[in-house]
Symmetry: C2
Subunit: 265 residues, 2 copies
Amino acid sequence: MILMLTGYPMDKMQEVEAFFRTGHLQYIPHLSVDCVIFGFHEGELKVLLLKWKHLERWSLPGGPIRRDQSVDETAHVVLKDRTGLDDIFLQQFYAFGSMDRKESVLLELFDRLNVSNHEANWLSERTVSIGYYALVDFSKVNPVPDFFSEACSWWDVCDRPSLLFDHDAMVERALQTLQQQLYYQPIGLNLLPDKFTMPELQQLYEAVLGRKLDRRNFQKKIQKMGIVERLKERRTGGAHRSPYLYRFDVPRYEQALAEGLAYGF
Amino acid sequence: MILMLTGYPMDKMQEVEAFFRTGHLQYIPHLSVDCVIFGFHEGELKVLLLKWKHLERWSLPGGPIRRDQSVDETAHVVLKDRTGLDDIFLQQFYAFGSMDRKESVLLELFDRLNVSNHEANWLSERTVSIGYYALVDFSKVNPVPDFFSEACSWWDVCDRPSLLFDHDAMVERALQTLQQQLYYQPIGLNLLPDKFTMPELQQLYEAVLGRKLDRRNFQKKIQKMGIVERLKERRTGGAHRSPYLYRFDVPRYEQALAEGLAYGF
């Protein structure tokens, strides 16, 4: 394989060449992980995207799976490397295994990089990708691009560029899973301040569901879950009457995360 | 590779040998599909298991993924081959990707089959398995063993033999997913007679959840879903007072399957 990289320092060129040429010895071929990292802050729902060098197009963060790492570990490393965040709720949601996942866009990249003989390369083969999603507070993250990308930034979920590969379908399916998850798992810890108002919690649910909710109905359902407690304090200083402050009951929240919420059947 | 198979006719021996020797040309290495096929009938919840030849132990049905088939297609073929059933609700629930999935039991099988040099075989490598589950009426199925198994039969979910590989964890996770699914998707079509009583539908939910439900509460929630309609007929002839018959409102059932149930937030 001959590799001509423009715009990389010499040591990086060798690194990229080794990845293309002998990466299959270190990584499992035909398999990858992709992460839909949702970001929430003050009512806005965003998604973290990478802009590829040479292609000028965007995709989700992800990568191949090392032979000495589990699939879960790989997803955690992707999340940590792009956001600096650890110990975050990260959940597998779907394995994408259709026949047309041939990553043909990579061939275009190889062309731009002047990688010869790339059709026989391990990276050009059909790949099944295992999708994970996370929900983080985007105000606490400084996104970091990976080796093949020139930018890493937050985009509005509903107003984002069209993505490479089947990554648009991945974002839609991750969002659908997150919406279904609201039926049986709590969300909100780490996404809201320690003390929050009921309208702030409702904003989070509305951002995930993409629609307005009835205020009374929402409060009743949240209270039925038994994961928040009302404090004696109120939020003061706003234009409206002072709303009560709430906080998560962390042990009950953790229990609901492990066992599912008690409502339903 | 030298292969000595006892108990197989000559043409089958050649087939098995070809599978071991050159299967990686036809199948994607490092990947497989496993199916948790739940069976329900008259209040009993079962799972379909295969008994391996030579090993005398049980596992879920499954297999490697052909290079010319999608992951979904592979799962449908497994379901069809073992049960004869087509057009059945079959859903991916999790990809199992831990480091210790090395299928070491297969090495034991290779030993029993006198397959030499098997440590370097494509089947001995670390494998990520993508799990699917289905829910069928077991009274309508004649289970068929696969090539490597001597029996295929229904076992009570709660009273089954301990399984090979990590298949016990797969059954538990599939059951948990099915239970969560009750919060946002309907079940029951194809599992109950065309006309059924409310206690019969409740029996299905109780079998999946593994616990008794309150009769009044259950009826209220089912009616709120809007997927069943009460008929004018009643079931007669039993020891108790004649209960009303119901049937699924199929268009609304299909809509709920596609879009999620309307309750929740």
